[in-house]
């Protein structure tokens, strides 16, 4: 069983909701503030993007389902701050700090002047690897039967349940990338080769809209075996 965020293929969601004015970057002022706060707190370097995603996935299903997008971000941030000792639960409850952070941590604060260079450089996930890729373009592969983190019970993984145990074809090889299943749990980047795998819609869904349609996913080597 996967977590609440793994919703690809789920039934019952209804029409895709549209905004009246889709030209606005942020439909409420606090949305932009929530995004900026999350980005700036991430720049302190206490966690990585995989851990940050996993914290949102770990929200109780009732909260995940009822929260808006940026509410999930705020909840994830509050939980990260406490888990990593940047704030206490009492401070979160009070909405006030009970004392300054360490000098070492304050020295890592993202100042306004560093914002644009930091965001324009980003953080690539590609890594050099001495391992040869196990699969070449055109190879037939089967995904893991169970979409789950193998090392951590309930841990982070990027194999969606709808694509577990299915046979597809390698269409792109991306080289080695940081492995989220490890990195999200601070067990090291453990880079693995990453591939785009193409699945026929009919191999994923009993009632595919068209037999000629396909779904492509980016999957790490350890999710795959020869088929």
């Amino acid at each position: 069983m996967t977590r609440i965020h793994d919703m690809g293929g789920r039934f019952g969601d209804g029409p895709v909701p549209r905004e009246e004015d889709e030209t606005k970057t942020f439909t409420a002022d606090w949305h932009g503030r929530a995004l900026a706060l999350t980005v700036a707190a991430g720049a302190l370097g206490k966690w990585n993007i995989d851990a940050s995603r996993h914290m949102r996935e770990c929200l109780p299903p009732a909260d995940y389902a009822s929260f808006g997008y940026y509410e999930k971000w705020l909840a994830g941030l509050a939980n990260l701050l406490v888990e990593h000792g940047l704030a206490s639960a009492d401070e979160i409850a009070a909405g006030r700090s009970s004392g300054p952070a360490s000098d070492a941590l304050r020295a890592r604060r993202l100042d306004a002047a560093r914002v644009e260079p930091a965001l324009r450089s980003g953080g690539p996930s590609a890594r050099t690897s001495t391992e040869d890729p196990a699969f070449a373009i055109g190879a037939r592969v089967r995904t893991s039967r169970i979409a789950a983190n193998r090392a951590q019970n309930g841990g982070h993984t990027r194999l969606p349940a709808y694509a577990a145990g299915r046979v597809g074809t390698i269409v792109l090889c991306h080289g080695a990338h940081v492995f989220p299943d490890s990195n999200a749990h601070f067990s090291g980047e453990a880079p693995q080769h990453l591939y785009t795998v193409s699945f026929a819609a009919g191999d994923l869904w009993h009632h595919a809209e068209s037999a000629d349609d396909e779904v492509r996913l980016d999957l790490w080597e350890s999710y795959l075996e020869p088929a």
Binding site: F11, P15, P60, N79, I92, L119, G122, H177, S198, L217
Partner: protein, 208 residues
Amino acid sequence: MPHDHHDQSPHSLLPSEPALRVKALETILVEKGLIDPAALDAIIDLYERDIGPQIGAGLVARAWVDPHFRTALLTDADKVITELGHGGRQGEHVVVVENTPETHNLVVCTLCSCYPWPLLGIPPGWYKSDSYRARAVREPRAVLAEFGVALAAGTSVRVWDSTAEIRYLVLPMRPEGSAHMDEAALAGLVTRDSMIGTGLPLPVGADK
């Protein structure tokens, strides 16, 4: 009495009003010296003013008029994007996929909300909605119909579920009757949704 919250997940201790939750977290982090409020303004400004779909539209329009650029973009987008200074957070690794009469591409992130920020800006609300995430992989044609996109018979749909750090940008087909238009005018036809795959470029004469 401190330490009386340990049974509750910290997020549940925040105020019920979302705007007040942001305020609480910002206040704590600013007081601790961990957040520069001016940096938050700078992040918001960057995505409201400078980084948005106009960047992707410029790439698409140039690919329509310059075959060498089109080939380079489809072959090694990262090289092209880096040379043009359009790299950055959530666009570190980009693959550009081309619509043809045979194949229509559609991009989604079923597990979260992965999206090419440096080329399209911050994703719209619908892209991050449960409904889009749940349905785009299983019934892309129904989703396309909701967005007013009707595909020609014989066009198959190729959905890209962005499960890793590769970000996908759709290169839509150049609209019919646009042969007389220059690159700048063509860019005006390229909508954000046409670069996600939930839309098509505007028809000639209907520029934004």
